[in-house]
Symmetry: C2
Subunit: 373 residues, 2 copies
């Protein structure tokens, strides 16, 4: 949401902006552009372009391709492209019944993918995170054997996460105040990586974004034992001021209804969480429809993507949800809301986690150069 023209103007921020501008210009070019072409298209001086491009090459973000064969007068210029062996993102997920890790390269391609099925509930948080760390280490080593450099790691957890990565509550795992980054640093092979921990629905929404189109706006809702949501606005994940947005599972559906373990009454989770869903699908779809109507009335989102268990039950839930949307969304008569099942299935969160690392590098190459330097 930062307005480009309101970015504070300091030398270092201009340099950072121009590095990102050049990196993204190369990424979005149909053919590998020359330095001269980059100067023309960006309006920067050739000297500035050359110095910044040298930094991007030294940092392993860009590579200089051999010039095409000489076809006329003059020497053809070398073209620039994203490095295939450049920085990569390591995405991880811990959920109730599996661990997952994947590595995505700078272009967004999945290069490694590991899964381990096992019930995590009996394990204490340090043991579960140690197992996850070992899986992440395997993925990292395999990626590095292919010449990639893992830039960082993002971990998806089903819970409320503070900006420092402290998992405040992950009820389905039985976690409370778990310092996930510190515990992961206990695995030596990944101890040097910057770690970001985020809510699984937020990261799954980022994963779905890759298939929804770059400027999409949608609400992703993940139905597990708990219910989470990730809001994507114009292609950007909205995390909320403290990273705690999307707690749709605790949106009040019936103010005097069933007591919830959060201390409130009538929360959506009590009517449409995985257990309630199994017990009574019509009730679950009506409750979901009421809660989703609230989200659409507030946010004017044109699309809702249902993931997790909701993706599996999608066709049976659909009619009940749409009935409530038609009744309760003020603008339903003016423009219908699109409802669809998640496309990445259970891969959404781990893919989104890896993507988030890559997005970080592409949006802030200066930060990567500082760390890599």
């Amino acid at each position: 949401m930062i307005n480009p023209s309101s970015v504070p103007v300091r030398q270092s921020s201009i340099r950072a902006h121009n590095l990102a501008l050049l990196l993204n210009t190369v990424a979005n070019s149909a053919d590998p552009p020359s330095r001269a072409a980059l100067a023309t298209v960006t309006g920067l001086t050739r000297a500035t372009v050359s110095a910044l491009v040298d930094d991007l090459i030294a940092g392993g973000l860009l590579t200089e391709l051999d010039p095409p064969p000489r076809t006329g007068a003059g020497r053809p210029a070398a073209g620039l492209a994203l490095t295939a062996a450049g920085p990569a993102g390591l995405g991880c997920e811990i959920n109730v019944d599996y661990l997952a890790a994947c590595v995505v390269d700078l272009t967004g391609a999945v290069r490694q993918r590991f899964t381990e099925h096992a019930d995590q509930r009996p394990a204490a948080a340090p043991d579960a995170l140690a197992a996850l760390g070992r899986l992440a280490a395997r993925a990292r080593l395999a990626a590095e054997a292919e010449g990639l450099v893992v830039a960082g790691m993002a971990l998806a957890v089903p819970g409320l996460v503070s900006p420092t990565g402290l998992v405040r509550v992950a009820p389905n795992l039985g976690w409370q105040d778990v310092d996930a980054p510190t515990l992961l640093r206990g695995v030596p092979e990944i101890a040097d990586l910057p770690v970001v921990v985020d809510n699984e629905a937020n990261l799954a929404a980022l994963g779905e974004l890759r298939v929804a189109g770059a400027e999409a706006t949608f609400l992703y809702v993940s139905g597990e034992i708990g219910i989470g949501a990730g809001l994507v606005i114009d292609g950007e994940l909205y995390r909320g001021v403290r990273g705690w947005s999307g707690e749709i599972g605790h949106l009040t559906v019936y103010p005097d209804g069933r007591p919830c373990r959060c201390g409130s009454r009538g929360c959506l989770e009590q009517y449409a969480g995985q257990e309630a869903l199994t017990a009574d699908e019509p009730l679950a779809s009506a409750a979901l429809g009421i809660a989703l109507s609230a989200a659409v009335n507030l946010l004017d989102v044109p699309m809702i993507v249902l993931g997790g268990a909701y993706a599996l039950h999608f066709e049976r839930l659909r009619a009940g949800i749409e009935t409530e949307l038609r009744r309760r969304v003020l603008t339903a008569g003016l423009a219908p809301v699109t409802l669809r099942a998640a496309r990445l299935g259970t891969d959404a969160a781990v893919r989104g986690a890896a993507d988030s690392v890559i997005r970080g590098v592409r949006d802030d190459p200066a930060g990567w150069l500082r760390r890599a330097g």
Copy 2:
């Protein structure tokens, strides 16, 4: 929400970006910078800076100040500043019992302010808009007599507005499908101005933003006969994909509750709209608390600003709302939500309307130069 580094790279968009960068660099500078200083700080060439600054001066956005007295060797450079007589924004509001117009200059200062108290409900939409247009024309003429150039006009209405400015529904005015821009063009003195029509809560939220700080995140809720909300995220108004966000008045509070004129049941408006509020304040504050809890659970907004009638009744509503927020917001125990009354009172929407025109010029000076040229 557009990522600066993902802006499509074309010559014209680079020029537009650089014009905005220069304009905002001047606006945010403590002292009027010289062209040479602008080149240093932005990394653009001196030739590029000079050409763009010339365009900004010719377009009436910047002015060249006299150089300070010579104090040493060399000729001191002239400094650049925003033009006091530059483009201005004309903000207007039509509401149930008054019309308002104000003019704000490029620096955000209010330069003209007109109000006309009269019940608008008996008037047909064309007559009400003609009266508003005449008030707007008075404000424009007064501003132009001061040397300002009105860049455009924004109109706040209590209703659902389409992106073209068609007022789809404004129930308290009895309007349906009113083509406000076309009707306003019937007033010759303002017929040439670009007109933007927006929901009053959206524009009031923009007005409150000026007093809340540039990067604020809050939900503004306006209690009138209807209830509207405007969501500001990191200093930017979130309008929703079709401009229909913030319809909190039709958020379901009691699924099987009172029938609403929108066709649904249990809408917030039936419990906390101005009439219900007068009848039963505790019920209204509980219903508001339930709806606001939904918004906080979804959006993780740290602050709620209550405007309109809610600002007047604020101290009496506060306890009831806070009780529900504590009970129903999942993260209430981790971080409390700040609740406060709107600071601009009934001026919020008209001020926000005028500000929105100015923001448009500052964010896209290239667009202004095209129109002014």
